[in-house]
Amino acid sequence: MNKLIVFLVIALAVCFSCQQEKYTQGKRIYKALCSNCHMDDGNGLGQMYPSLQKSVYLYDKMDELTCLIRTGRQSSHLSTVVMPGFSNLREAEISNLINYLSHEWGDQTILPITSIREQIENCP
């Protein structure tokens, strides 16, 4: 009985620690590179800085997200506002970032690093 309790405690601790670590790097990258414009809650600001909550790029256009992150984009509203590209991010970092975004504001889809690599090869 005691062994069973010890086993359950260890199993729960392992599960808990896994859950805590799951999106750590993606979250850190988001905070460092993205949250200044898209905000901590992913809601952006007005029509100028797009909201990521339920963004089409986290659903139907998820296959365009890697290139968008790497190359950036000119604002559709104002010539002076540009989303910078982060071409220095490694494949694993982009994967972790996208999986964090998907977990927070998308449909929980997980993009493996192979998909990221494939998308990078096909970036315009």
Partner: protein, 208 residues
Amino acid sequence: MKKIHFIFVGSLILITSLISCYKSDIGPLPFIGDREDLAGNRIEHKIRPFSFTNQEGETVTNATYKNKIHVVDFFFTSCPAICPYVTAQMKRIQDHITDYGDVMLISHTVDPKRDSIAVLKEYADKIGADPNIWHFLRGPKDKIMEMANEDYFVAAHEDEYAPGGFDHSGKILLLDKQAKIRGFCDGMDPESVSQFIKTLDYLRSTYE
């Protein structure tokens, strides 16, 4: 009847105590920048007169903000670093003071070359700024930099190595109705801004 009277008076005392506690938690506010000369005379610091153009193309001067509390920051629309976050906090302050009538928000662009009046207008509209409450001001770059550094004590200068070409502080400043600096906060820290909003409300209450 007496019982109701006691309850009423008791409630009144309690509410008064709570209000006084709230006030003592914040004030009195300092006069930031005031100093003494060699003879020990106090020299008051206030924002010097200015004349700029707002996002509506109107000329605004210090007289425009006479008898208004001002909330001030420095930004530029192409800023890829801290500005959007600080601007979101300014928007939060705007939403808080919408019905006040005696508080104005001012955002000075440090990049008048790229930030034309049309650009400022579109930017202000797209982020949801109310032009009656929140002015985005454009003026000669030298004058803006001089004001930022000497009047507002907010470090700002052109720097080719800084993101977007300008290095500037994310501070938000609180000015009283005499254009004297009474407080400031870090626009990158929402908790600091929450405290700033309480300070703004306190400053406003001192005019009642």
